[in-house]
Symmetry: C2
Subunit: 326 residues, 2 copies
Protein backbone atom coordinates (compact mmCIF):
# COMPACT_ATOMS: atom_id res chain seq x y z
CA UNK A 1 0.00 0.00 0.00
CA UNK A 2 1.11 3.56 -0.65
CA UNK A 3 1.09 5.38 2.67
CA UNK A 4 1.89 9.05 3.08
CA UNK A 5 2.73 10.71 6.40
CA UNK A 6 2.41 14.50 6.16
CA UNK A 7 3.93 16.54 8.98
CA UNK A 8 2.59 20.00 9.79
CA UNK A 9 5.11 22.67 8.90
CA UNK A 10 4.96 24.47 12.24
CA UNK A 11 5.32 21.88 15.00
CA UNK A 12 8.52 19.82 14.63
CA UNK A 13 8.05 18.38 18.15
CA UNK A 14 5.33 16.14 16.77
CA UNK A 15 6.92 15.23 13.41
CA UNK A 16 6.91 11.70 12.08
CA UNK A 17 10.32 10.38 11.02
CA UNK A 18 11.44 7.40 8.99
CA UNK A 19 13.02 5.95 12.14
CA UNK A 20 9.70 6.19 13.98
CA UNK A 21 7.92 4.40 11.15
CA UNK A 22 10.54 1.64 11.07
CA UNK A 23 10.20 1.18 14.85
CA UNK A 24 6.42 0.90 14.54
CA UNK A 25 6.82 -1.67 11.76
CA UNK A 26 9.18 -3.66 13.99
CA UNK A 27 6.45 -3.74 16.66
CA UNK A 28 3.83 -4.93 14.14
CA UNK A 29 5.69 -6.63 11.28
CA UNK A 30 2.64 -8.63 10.11
CA UNK A 31 0.87 -5.48 8.96
CA UNK A 32 3.65 -2.90 8.82
CA UNK A 33 5.99 -4.48 6.30
CA UNK A 34 5.98 -4.07 2.54
CA UNK A 35 4.37 -0.64 2.17
CA UNK A 36 5.68 2.25 0.07
CA UNK A 37 5.91 5.01 2.66
CA UNK A 38 6.57 8.68 2.00
CA UNK A 39 6.98 11.48 4.51
CA UNK A 40 6.35 15.10 3.61
CA UNK A 41 6.27 18.52 5.18
CA UNK A 42 5.74 21.09 2.38
CA UNK A 43 2.70 21.73 0.21
CA UNK A 44 4.67 20.40 -2.80
CA UNK A 45 5.43 17.16 -0.93
CA UNK A 46 1.76 16.79 -0.13
CA UNK A 47 0.39 17.38 -3.61
CA UNK A 48 2.92 15.01 -5.16
CA UNK A 49 2.27 12.23 -2.67
CA UNK A 50 -1.51 12.54 -2.89
CA UNK A 51 -1.50 11.64 -6.60
CA UNK A 52 -0.70 8.05 -5.60
CA UNK A 53 -1.36 7.70 -1.87
CA UNK A 54 -3.93 5.14 -0.70
CA UNK A 55 -3.56 6.05 2.97
CA UNK A 56 -2.81 9.42 4.53
CA UNK A 57 -1.70 10.00 8.12
CA UNK A 58 -1.73 13.65 9.15
CA UNK A 59 -3.26 16.17 11.54
CA UNK A 60 -6.16 18.60 11.56
CA UNK A 61 -4.03 21.63 10.72
CA UNK A 62 -2.69 20.01 7.55
CA UNK A 63 -6.14 18.99 6.37
CA UNK A 64 -7.46 22.49 6.96
CA UNK A 65 -4.51 24.01 5.07
CA UNK A 66 -4.52 21.54 2.17
CA UNK A 67 -8.25 21.16 1.45
CA UNK A 68 -9.69 20.44 -1.02
CA UNK A 69 -7.60 17.28 -1.23
CA UNK A 70 -7.03 15.86 -4.73
CA UNK A 71 -6.31 12.21 -4.00
CA UNK A 72 -7.81 9.86 -6.58
CA UNK A 73 -6.55 6.66 -4.91
CA UNK A 74 -7.12 7.58 -1.26
CA UNK A 75 -8.96 4.96 0.78
CA UNK A 76 -7.94 5.65 4.40
CA UNK A 77 -7.44 8.97 6.19
CA UNK A 78 -6.02 8.71 9.70
CA UNK A 79 -6.07 12.03 11.57
CA UNK A 80 -3.62 12.21 14.48
CA UNK A 81 -5.98 14.27 16.64
CA UNK A 82 -8.70 12.82 18.83
CA UNK A 83 -11.20 15.68 18.54
CA UNK A 84 -12.05 16.46 14.90
CA UNK A 85 -14.55 19.23 15.65
CA UNK A 86 -12.42 21.75 13.73
CA UNK A 87 -12.93 19.67 10.56
CA UNK A 88 -16.73 19.91 10.65
CA UNK A 89 -18.70 20.02 8.40
CA UNK A 90 -17.05 17.10 6.69
CA UNK A 91 -17.94 18.04 3.12
CA UNK A 92 -14.25 18.28 2.20
CA UNK A 93 -13.82 14.50 2.68
CA UNK A 94 -13.43 12.74 -0.71
CA UNK A 95 -16.32 10.29 -1.20
CA UNK A 96 -15.58 6.71 -0.16
CA UNK A 97 -12.60 7.64 2.03
CA UNK A 98 -12.72 6.11 5.53
CA UNK A 99 -11.98 8.70 8.19
CA UNK A 100 -10.28 7.75 11.47
CA UNK A 101 -9.36 9.79 14.51
CA UNK A 102 -6.58 9.07 17.00
CA UNK A 103 -8.59 8.15 20.10
CA UNK A 104 -6.45 6.06 22.44
CA UNK A 105 -3.15 7.89 21.90
CA UNK A 106 -3.95 10.24 24.74
CA UNK A 107 -5.12 7.72 27.31
CA UNK A 108 -2.10 7.51 29.60
CA UNK A 109 -1.15 11.19 29.54
CA UNK A 110 -4.70 12.51 29.82
CA UNK A 111 -5.54 10.12 32.65
CA UNK A 112 -2.58 11.34 34.67
CA UNK A 113 -3.45 14.96 33.93
CA UNK A 114 -7.05 14.31 34.92
CA UNK A 115 -6.29 12.75 38.28
CA UNK A 116 -3.60 15.36 38.94
CA UNK A 117 -6.21 18.06 38.36
CA UNK A 118 -8.64 16.44 40.81
CA UNK A 119 -5.87 16.20 43.43
CA UNK A 120 -4.96 19.85 42.80
CA UNK A 121 -8.57 20.86 43.42
CA UNK A 122 -8.79 18.66 46.53
CA UNK A 123 -5.59 20.27 47.81
CA UNK A 124 -6.77 23.82 46.94
CA UNK A 125 -3.78 24.44 44.65
CA UNK A 126 -5.65 26.94 42.43
CA UNK A 127 -6.35 29.13 45.49
CA UNK A 128 -2.79 28.68 46.75
CA UNK A 129 -1.46 29.90 43.41
CA UNK A 130 -3.76 32.94 43.58
CA UNK A 131 -2.42 33.79 47.05
CA UNK A 132 1.11 33.25 45.77
CA UNK A 133 0.48 35.68 42.90
CA UNK A 134 -0.67 38.21 45.51
CA UNK A 135 2.35 37.49 47.74
CA UNK A 136 0.11 36.50 50.66
CA UNK A 137 0.75 33.64 53.10
CA UNK A 138 -2.63 32.24 54.05
CA UNK A 139 -3.21 28.77 55.49
CA UNK A 140 -5.54 26.73 53.31
CA UNK A 141 -6.33 23.09 53.94
CA UNK A 142 -7.26 20.43 51.48
CA UNK A 143 -8.72 17.00 52.07
CA UNK A 144 -8.05 13.45 50.99
CA UNK A 145 -10.03 12.34 47.94
CA UNK A 146 -11.03 8.88 49.15
CA UNK A 147 -14.82 8.58 49.31
CA UNK A 148 -15.40 11.91 47.58
CA UNK A 149 -17.60 12.29 44.52
CA UNK A 150 -16.36 13.07 41.05
CA UNK A 151 -18.54 13.34 37.96
CA UNK A 152 -16.76 12.61 34.70
CA UNK A 153 -18.56 13.77 31.54
CA UNK A 154 -17.36 11.60 28.67
CA UNK A 155 -16.00 8.11 29.24
CA UNK A 156 -13.82 7.78 26.15
CA UNK A 157 -10.05 7.54 26.35
CA UNK A 158 -9.59 10.74 28.39
CA UNK A 159 -12.53 10.45 30.75
CA UNK A 160 -12.22 6.70 31.12
CA UNK A 161 -8.55 6.95 32.13
CA UNK A 162 -9.32 9.77 34.57
CA UNK A 163 -12.17 7.76 36.08
CA UNK A 164 -9.91 4.73 36.46
CA UNK A 165 -7.25 6.70 38.34
CA UNK A 166 -9.89 8.37 40.53
CA UNK A 167 -11.46 5.04 41.43
CA UNK A 168 -8.00 3.67 42.31
CA UNK A 169 -7.75 6.48 44.90
CA UNK A 170 -11.06 5.39 46.41
CA UNK A 171 -13.21 8.09 44.85
CA UNK A 172 -16.86 7.56 44.01
CA UNK A 173 -17.14 8.13 40.27
CA UNK A 174 -20.30 9.02 38.36
CA UNK A 175 -19.86 8.75 34.62
CA UNK A 176 -21.94 10.68 32.11
CA UNK A 177 -22.24 9.62 28.50
CA UNK A 178 -24.68 9.67 25.61
CA UNK A 179 -25.61 6.01 26.04
CA UNK A 180 -25.22 5.11 29.72
CA UNK A 181 -23.54 1.71 29.49
CA UNK A 182 -21.70 0.68 32.69
CA UNK A 183 -17.99 1.46 33.11
CA UNK A 184 -15.71 -0.51 35.47
CA UNK A 185 -14.41 2.62 37.23
CA UNK A 186 -17.84 4.15 37.77
CA UNK A 187 -20.22 3.59 40.65
CA UNK A 188 -22.94 4.70 38.24
CA UNK A 189 -23.17 5.86 34.66
CA UNK A 190 -25.97 8.22 33.68
CA UNK A 191 -27.12 9.65 30.38
CA UNK A 192 -26.40 13.25 29.48
CA UNK A 193 -30.10 13.97 30.04
CA UNK A 194 -29.67 13.10 33.74
CA UNK A 195 -26.65 15.33 34.30
CA UNK A 196 -28.69 17.83 36.31
CA UNK A 197 -29.55 15.23 38.92
CA UNK A 198 -25.85 14.55 39.59
CA UNK A 199 -24.66 18.15 39.92
CA UNK A 200 -25.73 18.97 43.51
CA UNK A 201 -23.64 16.05 44.82
CA UNK A 202 -20.67 16.61 42.52
CA UNK A 203 -17.53 17.68 44.37
CA UNK A 204 -15.37 17.55 41.25
CA UNK A 205 -16.71 17.97 37.70
CA UNK A 206 -14.42 16.69 34.95
CA UNK A 207 -15.25 17.51 31.31
CA UNK A 208 -13.64 15.02 28.94
CA UNK A 209 -16.15 14.65 26.10
CA UNK A 210 -15.87 15.60 22.43
CA UNK A 211 -17.32 18.86 21.17
CA UNK A 212 -20.41 18.07 19.12
CA UNK A 213 -23.68 19.89 18.45
CA UNK A 214 -25.05 17.97 21.46
CA UNK A 215 -22.27 18.98 23.88
CA UNK A 216 -21.60 22.58 22.79
CA UNK A 217 -22.49 24.80 25.72
CA UNK A 218 -23.43 21.76 27.83
CA UNK A 219 -22.24 23.34 31.09
CA UNK A 220 -24.36 26.46 31.33
CA UNK A 221 -24.21 29.09 34.04
CA UNK A 222 -27.26 27.51 35.64
CA UNK A 223 -25.61 24.10 35.76
CA UNK A 224 -22.45 25.59 37.29
CA UNK A 225 -24.64 27.24 39.92
CA UNK A 226 -26.10 23.81 40.76
CA UNK A 227 -22.69 22.56 41.88
CA UNK A 228 -21.88 22.81 45.61
CA UNK A 229 -20.12 26.09 46.42
CA UNK A 230 -16.83 24.33 47.19
CA UNK A 231 -16.84 22.19 44.04
CA UNK A 232 -14.02 22.26 41.52
CA UNK A 233 -14.05 22.02 37.72
CA UNK A 234 -11.63 20.36 35.29
CA UNK A 235 -11.89 20.75 31.51
CA UNK A 236 -9.71 18.60 29.25
CA UNK A 237 -12.34 18.41 26.48
CA UNK A 238 -12.99 21.64 24.58
CA UNK A 239 -13.47 25.21 25.77
CA UNK A 240 -16.85 25.47 24.07
CA UNK A 241 -18.33 22.78 26.34
CA UNK A 242 -18.75 25.36 29.09
CA UNK A 243 -20.03 28.89 29.58
CA UNK A 244 -16.54 30.24 30.20
CA UNK A 245 -17.66 33.68 31.35
CA UNK A 246 -19.99 32.15 33.90
CA UNK A 247 -17.15 29.93 35.13
CA UNK A 248 -14.87 32.97 35.53
CA UNK A 249 -17.62 34.86 37.40
CA UNK A 250 -18.19 31.98 39.82
CA UNK A 251 -14.46 31.53 40.41
CA UNK A 252 -13.96 35.23 41.10
CA UNK A 253 -16.94 35.17 43.47
CA UNK A 254 -15.56 32.02 45.14
CA UNK A 255 -18.79 30.20 44.48
CA UNK A 256 -16.55 27.44 43.16
CA UNK A 257 -13.33 26.48 44.94
CA UNK A 258 -11.17 26.27 41.85
CA UNK A 259 -10.69 25.12 38.28
CA UNK A 260 -7.99 23.47 36.22
CA UNK A 261 -8.54 24.15 32.52
CA UNK A 262 -6.60 22.90 29.53
CA UNK A 263 -8.97 24.24 26.86
CA UNK A 264 -10.43 27.69 26.28
CA UNK A 265 -12.46 29.96 24.04
CA UNK A 266 -10.56 31.24 22.13
CA UNK A 267 -7.14 29.62 21.87
CA UNK A 268 -4.54 30.93 22.24
CA UNK A 269 -5.95 33.07 25.07
CA UNK A 270 -5.35 36.68 23.95
CA UNK A 271 -3.18 39.03 26.00
CA UNK A 272 -5.28 40.93 28.54
CA UNK A 273 -8.12 38.38 28.54
CA UNK A 274 -9.93 38.02 31.88
CA UNK A 275 -8.87 34.36 32.11
CA UNK A 276 -5.30 35.46 32.92
CA UNK A 277 -6.43 37.14 36.13
CA UNK A 278 -9.40 35.02 37.14
CA UNK A 279 -8.96 33.82 40.73
CA UNK A 280 -8.44 30.20 41.72
CA UNK A 281 -7.85 29.07 38.16
CA UNK A 282 -4.95 27.08 36.71
CA UNK A 283 -4.32 27.53 32.97
CA UNK A 284 -2.70 24.70 31.02
CA UNK A 285 -1.99 25.59 27.35
CA UNK A 286 -3.98 22.77 25.69
CA UNK A 287 -1.26 20.17 26.20
CA UNK A 288 -2.91 17.98 28.85
CA UNK A 289 -3.28 14.92 26.65
CA UNK A 290 -0.06 15.14 24.62
CA UNK A 291 3.27 13.59 25.51
CA UNK A 292 5.74 14.31 22.67
CA UNK A 293 7.89 11.33 23.69
CA UNK A 294 5.13 8.78 23.17
CA UNK A 295 2.58 10.54 20.95
CA UNK A 296 3.76 9.62 17.46
CA UNK A 297 4.95 6.07 18.21
CA UNK A 298 1.56 5.41 19.78
CA UNK A 299 -0.26 7.08 16.86
CA UNK A 300 1.52 4.81 14.38
CA UNK A 301 0.68 1.73 16.47
CA UNK A 302 -2.98 2.75 16.37
CA UNK A 303 -2.87 3.44 12.63
CA UNK A 304 -1.35 -0.01 11.96
CA UNK A 305 -3.94 -1.64 14.22
CA UNK A 306 -6.65 -0.04 12.07
CA UNK A 307 -4.86 -1.00 8.88
CA UNK A 308 -4.84 -4.61 10.07
CA UNK A 309 -8.58 -4.49 10.80
CA UNK A 310 -9.20 -2.97 7.35
CA UNK A 311 -7.10 -5.67 5.64
CA UNK A 312 -9.01 -8.35 7.57
CA UNK A 313 -12.40 -6.83 6.81
CA UNK A 314 -13.17 -6.11 10.47
CA UNK A 315 -14.71 -2.85 11.79
CA UNK A 316 -12.04 -0.18 12.27
CA UNK A 317 -11.52 0.62 15.98
CA UNK A 318 -10.87 4.30 15.24
CA UNK A 319 -13.54 4.83 12.60
CA UNK A 320 -14.86 8.38 12.97
CA UNK A 321 -18.64 8.63 12.87
CA UNK A 322 -19.40 11.94 11.17
CA UNK A 323 -23.04 11.92 12.25
CA UNK A 324 -22.32 11.64 15.97
CA UNK A 325 -19.09 13.66 15.79
CA UNK A 326 -16.60 11.25 17.42
Amino acid sequence: MRIHLQNPDNDPLFDFSRKMWDAAVARAPDIGQGHAVTIGVTHVDFVAAMREAEALVTDVSVIRAMSPIAAPNLKLLFVTNAGLDRLAPFDWLPPGVILMNNRGTHTAKAGEFGVMSILMLANRVPAMVTHQREGIWRKLWGAVVGGRRVTVVGLGALGGATATHAAALGMRVTGVRAHPAPHPACEQVIGADDLDSALPETEFLVLACPLTPATRGLITRKRLECLPSDAGVVNIGRGELIDQDALCDLLDQEHLSGAVLDVFTPEPIPAGHRLWTTRNLIISPHTAADDPATYNPRSLDIFLENLRAWRDGRPLPNHFDIARGY
Copy 2:
Protein backbone atom coordinates in the same frame (compact mmCIF):
# COMPACT_ATOMS: atom_id res chain seq x y z
CA MET B 1 -6.48 7.36 83.81
CA ARG B 2 -6.63 11.14 83.90
CA ILE B 3 -6.23 12.37 80.35
CA HIS B 4 -6.07 16.03 79.36
CA LEU B 5 -6.54 17.33 75.82
CA GLN B 6 -5.27 20.90 75.48
CA ASN B 7 -6.28 22.82 72.36
CA PRO B 8 -4.11 25.65 71.06
CA ASP B 9 -5.84 29.01 71.47
CA ASN B 10 -5.30 30.14 67.88
CA ASP B 11 -6.37 27.35 65.55
CA PRO B 12 -9.97 26.24 66.16
CA LEU B 13 -9.97 24.22 62.93
CA PHE B 14 -7.89 21.61 64.69
CA ASP B 15 -9.59 21.64 68.12
CA PHE B 16 -10.46 18.47 69.97
CA SER B 17 -14.04 18.24 71.14
CA ARG B 18 -15.87 15.98 73.58
CA LYS B 19 -17.82 14.52 70.66
CA MET B 20 -14.60 13.64 68.87
CA TRP B 21 -13.27 11.91 71.97
CA ASP B 22 -16.50 9.94 72.42
CA ALA B 23 -16.37 8.85 68.78
CA ALA B 24 -12.76 7.67 69.19
CA VAL B 25 -13.76 5.72 72.32
CA ALA B 26 -16.59 4.10 70.38
CA ARG B 27 -14.02 2.94 67.81
CA ALA B 28 -11.73 1.50 70.52
CA PRO B 29 -13.89 0.79 73.57
CA ASP B 30 -11.44 -1.73 75.08
CA ILE B 31 -8.91 1.00 75.77
CA GLY B 32 -10.92 4.21 75.48
CA GLN B 33 -13.55 3.68 78.16
CA GLY B 34 -13.35 4.63 81.83
CA HIS B 35 -10.93 7.54 81.70
CA ALA B 36 -11.38 10.94 83.30
CA VAL B 37 -10.98 13.25 80.33
CA THR B 38 -10.67 17.02 80.43
CA ILE B 39 -10.42 19.42 77.49
CA GLY B 40 -8.87 22.87 77.84
CA VAL B 41 -7.94 25.86 75.80
CA THR B 42 -6.72 28.61 78.17
CA HIS B 43 -3.58 28.79 80.29
CA VAL B 44 -5.75 28.47 83.40
CA ASP B 45 -7.34 25.29 82.05
CA PHE B 46 -3.91 23.89 81.38
CA VAL B 47 -2.35 24.61 84.77
CA ALA B 48 -5.38 23.23 86.62
CA ALA B 49 -5.51 20.04 84.59
CA MET B 50 -1.77 19.41 84.81
CA ARG B 51 -1.92 19.08 88.63
CA GLU B 52 -3.62 15.70 88.15
CA ALA B 53 -3.16 14.64 84.54
CA GLU B 54 -1.35 11.38 83.81
CA ALA B 55 -1.55 11.77 80.05
CA LEU B 56 -1.46 14.96 77.97
CA VAL B 57 -2.47 15.25 74.32
CA THR B 58 -1.54 18.57 72.74
CA ASP B 59 0.53 20.22 70.03
CA VAL B 60 3.95 21.79 69.69
CA SER B 61 2.67 25.36 70.02
CA VAL B 62 1.02 24.64 73.38
CA ILE B 63 4.13 22.98 74.76
CA ARG B 64 6.29 25.89 73.67
CA ALA B 65 3.88 28.37 75.24
CA MET B 66 3.34 26.47 78.49
CA SER B 67 6.87 25.25 79.33
CA PRO B 68 8.14 24.55 81.89
CA ILE B 69 5.32 22.12 82.55
CA ALA B 70 4.47 21.44 86.20
CA ALA B 71 2.81 18.04 86.04
CA PRO B 72 3.72 15.78 88.97
CA ASN B 73 1.65 12.78 87.76
CA LEU B 74 2.38 12.99 84.04
CA LYS B 75 3.44 9.70 82.45
CA LEU B 76 2.53 10.08 78.77
CA LEU B 77 2.86 13.09 76.49
CA PHE B 78 1.35 12.67 73.02
CA VAL B 79 2.19 15.55 70.66
CA THR B 80 -0.19 15.90 67.73
CA ASN B 81 2.57 16.95 65.31
CA ALA B 82 4.79 14.54 63.41
CA GLY B 83 7.94 16.67 63.33
CA LEU B 84 9.03 17.75 66.81
CA ASP B 85 12.13 19.65 65.69
CA ARG B 86 10.77 22.89 67.18
CA LEU B 87 10.79 21.27 70.64
CA ALA B 88 14.54 20.51 70.56
CA PRO B 89 16.52 20.44 72.79
CA PHE B 90 14.22 18.33 74.90
CA ASP B 91 15.43 19.56 78.32
CA TRP B 92 11.91 20.84 79.13
CA LEU B 93 10.53 17.28 79.22
CA PRO B 94 9.78 16.22 82.81
CA PRO B 95 11.95 13.20 83.71
CA GLY B 96 10.29 9.82 83.26
CA VAL B 97 7.61 11.12 80.89
CA ILE B 98 7.25 9.11 77.68
CA LEU B 99 7.14 11.39 74.63
CA MET B 100 5.18 10.42 71.52
CA ASN B 101 4.72 12.13 68.16
CA ASN B 102 1.82 11.78 65.76
CA ARG B 103 3.46 9.93 62.88
CA GLY B 104 0.84 8.11 60.84
CA THR B 105 -1.87 10.78 61.03
CA HIS B 106 -0.57 12.36 57.90
CA THR B 107 -0.13 9.27 55.75
CA ALA B 108 -3.15 9.49 53.45
CA LYS B 109 -3.13 13.26 52.95
CA ALA B 110 0.64 13.57 52.53
CA GLY B 111 0.80 10.65 50.13
CA GLU B 112 -1.80 12.25 47.88
CA PHE B 113 -0.04 15.61 48.07
CA GLY B 114 3.27 13.93 47.27
CA VAL B 115 2.08 12.12 44.17
CA MET B 116 0.11 15.19 43.07
CA SER B 117 3.34 17.21 43.28
CA ILE B 118 5.21 14.67 41.15
CA LEU B 119 2.43 14.74 38.55
CA MET B 120 2.48 18.56 38.61
CA LEU B 121 6.20 18.54 37.89
CA ALA B 122 5.81 15.89 35.15
CA ASN B 123 3.08 18.06 33.59
CA ARG B 124 5.15 21.29 33.93
CA VAL B 125 2.46 22.98 36.05
CA PRO B 126 4.95 25.23 37.90
CA ALA B 127 6.11 26.69 34.57
CA MET B 128 2.52 26.96 33.32
CA VAL B 129 1.62 28.97 36.41
CA THR B 130 4.60 31.27 35.83
CA HIS B 131 3.45 31.89 32.25
CA GLN B 132 -0.08 32.45 33.53
CA ARG B 133 1.20 35.06 36.01
CA GLU B 134 2.89 36.78 33.06
CA GLY B 135 -0.25 36.53 30.91
CA ILE B 136 1.60 34.56 28.23
CA TRP B 137 0.20 31.61 26.24
CA ARG B 138 3.13 29.29 25.57
CA LYS B 139 2.77 25.61 24.67
CA LEU B 140 4.57 23.40 27.19
CA TRP B 141 4.40 19.64 27.15
CA GLY B 142 4.70 17.23 30.00
CA ALA B 143 5.22 13.50 29.93
CA VAL B 144 3.71 10.43 31.52
CA VAL B 145 5.41 9.35 34.75
CA GLY B 146 5.47 5.59 34.09
CA GLY B 147 9.06 4.31 34.05
CA ARG B 148 10.50 7.62 35.27
CA ARG B 149 12.78 7.89 38.28
CA VAL B 150 11.83 9.49 41.58
CA THR B 151 14.09 9.65 44.63
CA VAL B 152 12.24 9.89 47.94
CA VAL B 153 14.32 11.03 50.92
CA GLY B 154 12.69 9.68 54.07
CA LEU B 155 10.46 6.60 54.00
CA GLY B 156 8.33 7.32 57.06
CA ALA B 157 4.60 8.01 56.82
CA LEU B 158 4.94 10.88 54.32
CA GLY B 159 7.66 9.50 52.09
CA GLY B 160 6.40 5.93 52.28
CA ALA B 161 2.91 6.94 51.17
CA THR B 162 4.31 9.07 48.34
CA ALA B 163 6.55 6.20 47.20
CA THR B 164 3.58 3.81 47.25
CA HIS B 165 1.47 6.10 45.04
CA ALA B 166 4.41 6.70 42.68
CA ALA B 167 5.07 2.98 42.31
CA ALA B 168 1.37 2.41 41.58
CA LEU B 169 1.78 4.77 38.60
CA GLY B 170 4.67 2.66 37.34
CA MET B 171 7.47 4.94 38.51
CA ARG B 172 10.89 3.64 39.49
CA VAL B 173 11.37 4.68 43.10
CA THR B 174 14.68 5.01 44.91
CA GLY B 175 14.26 5.42 48.66
CA VAL B 176 16.80 7.14 50.88
CA ARG B 177 16.90 6.59 54.63
CA ALA B 178 19.31 6.45 57.51
CA HIS B 179 19.28 2.66 57.65
CA PRO B 180 18.62 1.34 54.15
CA ALA B 181 16.13 -1.46 54.85
CA PRO B 182 14.02 -2.47 51.82
CA HIS B 183 10.63 -0.85 51.21
CA PRO B 184 7.89 -2.51 49.13
CA ALA B 185 7.38 0.54 46.89
CA CYS B 186 11.08 1.07 46.19
CA GLU B 187 13.17 -0.50 43.46
CA GLN B 188 16.15 0.24 45.72
CA VAL B 189 16.73 1.83 49.11
CA ILE B 190 20.05 3.53 49.79
CA GLY B 191 21.59 5.12 52.85
CA ALA B 192 21.81 8.87 53.16
CA ASP B 193 25.56 8.53 52.56
CA ASP B 194 24.85 7.24 49.06
CA LEU B 195 22.49 10.07 48.11
CA ASP B 196 25.06 11.64 45.77
CA SER B 197 25.18 8.52 43.61
CA ALA B 198 21.42 8.72 42.98
CA LEU B 199 21.17 12.41 42.09
CA PRO B 200 22.34 12.38 38.44
CA GLU B 201 19.56 9.91 37.54
CA THR B 202 16.87 11.55 39.67
CA GLU B 203 14.08 13.10 37.61
CA PHE B 204 12.00 13.99 40.68
CA LEU B 205 13.47 14.59 44.15
CA VAL B 206 10.99 14.34 47.03
CA LEU B 207 12.07 15.47 50.51
CA ALA B 208 9.93 13.86 53.20
CA CYS B 209 12.32 13.30 56.11
CA PRO B 210 12.35 14.84 59.59
CA LEU B 211 14.61 17.78 60.36
CA THR B 212 17.43 16.54 62.58
CA PRO B 213 21.07 17.55 63.02
CA ALA B 214 21.86 14.90 60.37
CA THR B 215 19.38 16.20 57.77
CA ARG B 216 19.65 19.97 58.29
CA GLY B 217 21.03 21.44 55.07
CA LEU B 218 21.15 17.98 53.46
CA ILE B 219 20.31 19.31 49.98
CA THR B 220 23.15 21.72 49.32
CA ARG B 221 23.61 23.88 46.24
CA LYS B 222 26.15 21.35 44.97
CA ARG B 223 23.68 18.49 45.32
CA LEU B 224 20.97 20.48 43.52
CA GLU B 225 23.45 21.10 40.71
CA CYS B 226 24.00 17.33 40.43
CA LEU B 227 20.36 16.83 39.44
CA PRO B 228 19.56 16.71 35.69
CA SER B 229 18.67 20.17 34.38
CA ASP B 230 15.03 19.21 33.82
CA ALA B 231 14.56 17.64 37.25
CA GLY B 232 11.88 18.78 39.68
CA VAL B 233 11.94 19.12 43.47
CA VAL B 234 9.21 18.51 46.08
CA ASN B 235 9.64 19.40 49.77
CA ILE B 236 7.04 18.23 52.28
CA GLY B 237 9.58 17.80 55.10
CA ARG B 238 11.07 21.00 56.49
CA GLY B 239 12.40 24.12 54.79
CA GLU B 240 15.77 23.77 56.49
CA LEU B 241 16.47 20.48 54.69
CA ILE B 242 17.48 22.43 51.59
CA ASP B 243 19.59 25.41 50.58
CA GLN B 244 16.55 27.48 49.70
CA ASP B 245 18.48 30.32 48.07
CA ALA B 246 20.30 27.88 45.84
CA LEU B 247 16.99 26.30 44.89
CA CYS B 248 15.53 29.71 43.99
CA ASP B 249 18.63 30.55 41.93
CA LEU B 250 18.42 27.30 39.98
CA LEU B 251 14.68 27.71 39.39
CA ASP B 252 15.10 31.27 38.15
CA GLN B 253 17.93 30.11 35.85
CA GLU B 254 15.76 27.19 34.66
CA HIS B 255 18.45 24.74 35.64
CA LEU B 256 15.60 22.85 37.32
CA SER B 257 12.21 22.48 35.64
CA GLY B 258 10.14 23.28 38.70
CA ALA B 259 9.46 22.85 42.39
CA VAL B 260 6.46 22.26 44.62
CA LEU B 261 7.24 23.34 48.18
CA ASP B 262 5.10 23.08 51.29
CA VAL B 263 7.79 24.17 53.77
CA PHE B 264 10.06 27.19 53.86
CA THR B 265 12.66 29.18 55.76
CA PRO B 266 11.18 31.16 57.41
CA GLU B 267 7.46 30.52 57.86
CA PRO B 268 5.26 32.38 57.26
CA ILE B 269 7.09 33.64 54.15
CA PRO B 270 7.45 37.40 54.70
CA ALA B 271 5.91 39.90 52.27
CA GLY B 272 8.39 40.80 49.52
CA HIS B 273 10.47 37.63 49.98
CA ARG B 274 12.10 36.34 46.77
CA LEU B 275 10.13 33.08 47.06
CA TRP B 276 6.95 34.91 46.02
CA THR B 277 8.39 35.75 42.62
CA THR B 278 10.71 32.81 42.00
CA ARG B 279 9.91 31.25 38.62
CA ASN B 280 8.48 27.76 38.17
CA LEU B 281 7.70 27.36 41.85
CA ILE B 282 4.41 26.42 43.53
CA ILE B 283 3.98 27.56 47.14
CA SER B 284 1.73 25.56 49.47
CA PRO B 285 1.35 27.14 52.94
CA HIS B 286 2.60 24.18 55.05
CA THR B 287 -0.69 22.31 54.88
CA ALA B 288 0.30 19.39 52.63
CA ALA B 289 -0.07 16.72 55.28
CA ASP B 290 -3.08 18.03 57.18
CA ASP B 291 -6.72 17.28 56.47
CA PRO B 292 -8.88 19.02 59.10
CA ALA B 293 -11.73 16.57 58.53
CA THR B 294 -9.69 13.53 59.48
CA TYR B 295 -6.75 14.90 61.47
CA ASN B 296 -8.05 14.86 65.02
CA PRO B 297 -10.10 11.65 64.79
CA ARG B 298 -7.03 9.93 63.41
CA SER B 299 -4.80 11.51 66.08
CA LEU B 300 -7.04 10.16 68.84
CA ASP B 301 -7.04 6.70 67.26
CA ILE B 302 -3.26 6.75 67.26
CA PHE B 303 -3.11 8.00 70.86
CA LEU B 304 -5.43 5.19 72.00
CA GLU B 305 -3.39 2.65 70.07
CA ASN B 306 -0.32 3.81 72.00
CA LEU B 307 -2.23 3.82 75.28
CA ARG B 308 -3.18 0.20 74.65
CA ALA B 309 0.45 -0.75 73.97
CA TRP B 310 1.51 1.07 77.16
CA ARG B 311 -1.16 -0.72 79.23
CA ASP B 312 -0.04 -4.06 77.79
CA GLY B 313 3.65 -3.36 78.34
CA ARG B 314 4.49 -3.40 74.64
CA PRO B 315 6.77 -0.89 72.86
CA LEU B 316 4.87 2.27 71.93
CA PRO B 317 4.47 2.61 68.13
CA ASN B 318 4.81 6.39 68.29
CA HIS B 319 7.58 6.62 70.88
CA PHE B 320 9.74 9.61 69.99
CA ASP B 321 13.47 8.90 70.11
CA ILE B 322 15.08 12.12 71.31
CA ALA B 323 18.59 11.01 70.30
CA ARG B 324 17.74 10.37 66.64
CA GLY B 325 15.15 13.16 66.50
CA TYR B 326 12.10 11.25 65.19
